[in-house]
Subunit: 229 residues, 2 copies
DNA sequence: TGTACATCAGTGAACGCGCGTTCACTGATGTAC
DNA sequence: TGTACATCAGTGAACGCGCGTTCACTGATGTAC
């Protein structure tokens, strides 16, 4: 921590390839985040040293520190989306796919704890509007799967957005507590995450059914959720 | 923000009443947290100025900044517990009491956003063991209510701890996202929090019932949850 | 009741530090002729 | 193919700042006689 990992001095990039170093800087910032364990501990100087460059170089690629951190967050959101997509590849049942996507989200958060914390707890006063979050691959993927679940009769048809937000709240809740309070008696993290996610999805459906408590409807829904029995 | 609010110079406390200033320092730190909007922005200097005292005075009451922040967190947890207790006073139905306690938690988090964030996102490497969280009035209150729900046949009898943790995860998830991403299309915060909390509770029960899908059981449970019909 | 004295809550000045950011610069890279 | 030159990615040194913390101190508060 105290001894900065100064990489070998890098060769100057050719003309058009400014984006190359930009990517390396983001990657270095994410690694610093992981290594130093806190968003405050990540300094321009540390990131620069990690890339093997002097601090002023950073400013050729980012206007200031905030812009760098924004880029780091965007980079991480892209990775979350990819992790979700890959976790649910080749799974036919949409509810099972939703489950795997939720688990992938929690898994990713735990594996990238500091970065996830930065991304989710940072209140960006401006410049971050709803679309920047909702347009993410992660959000689009979940939304798509929720719609598939609606088409399969598992969720009531309608706007998927409220349900997606509630499911995210559940996933985020267990992910961030597992990260921040690892010493609590959670048991197997994978298992408790699965419980929370399942309860959120099931609870959403049943809360609707309770309004019209016809046992037939519940039995029919059950058959759809648990085709095996 | 830039102009520090220097209070009138305080009179020296009488001999035995060191705890008085200690309390004032904690309160000032919480107010700084609220005013400055970020845990990093709260400095010993700002807190001291807010109390009307010079920075070195703080060290008569706290060994260092971390100890002060720990005290702030403990103070806030005590307040959350009290808010929950008061929110459920005089409510007979244990499930409704649980609901009001959850809502009180979310409400408190939103009203004390920065402090709540500090308390829940801070990873204390040591010194914070499970008992410090689980021994809180907030946790004891929720646990007690969950046990009452078990006695009333609403939840399956057993160790309340796993369920309490899952419910907390749900409450924390929606609370922290409402705080960090207020620009997302949540709709009425109170309503979405209610949905998430209810889904978590209902989902937990129904996930158990699904293992043994006897419509009679579900109908009986429904009657217990919804005595009116 | 009056005086000398011990206590210790709060002070004032200063320390060393790492931070974000700036500036004029250097010299390898690519291009025009 | 060879040379002069423009470009601009990265440099080195420095800035001003606010931070946590320390130290020897001051002087009101309470006590002993």
């Amino acid at each position: 921590v105290s001894a900065e990992p100064i990489a070998a001095r890098r060769r100057r990039s050719p003309r058009g390839s400014g984006d190359l170093l930009r990517g390396e800087i983001i990657a270095a910032a994410r690694e610093c985040l992981t290594r130093l364990g806190s968003a405050d501990a990540v300094s321009i100087r540390a990131v620069a040293a990690h890339v093997g460059v002097t601090p002023p170089s950073i400013y050729r690629h980012f206007a200031d520190k905030d812009e760098l951190l924004d880029a780091v967050v965007a980079d991480m959101f892209a990775d979350i989306g990819e992790a979700m997509r890959r976790a649910s590849e080749g799974i036919a049942n949409p509810l099972e796919r939703l489950r795997q996507q939720g688990l992938a989200c929690v898994r990713f958060a735990r594996a990238n704890a500091e970065c996830y914390r930065l991304a989710t707890m940072n209140v960006r006063t401006e410049a971050s509007h709803a679309d920047e979050v909702l347009g993410t691959e992660a959000f689009m993927t979940i939304s798509g799967t929720v719609v598939e679940c609606m088409d399969a009769g598992i969720f009531q048809k309608g706007d998927p957005l409220p349900l997606v937000l509630e499911l995210w709240a559940a996933a985020h809740g267990i992910a961030s507590l597992l990260i921040a309070k690892p010493y609590l008696p959670w048991g197997d993290p994978e298992l408790v995450a699965d419980h929370v996610l399942r309860a959120a999805a099931i609870g959403h459906v049943v809360a609707d059914l309770i309004g019209d408590p016809d046992p037939e409807k519940f039995a029919a829904w059950l058959a759809r959720v648990h085709p095996a029995g």
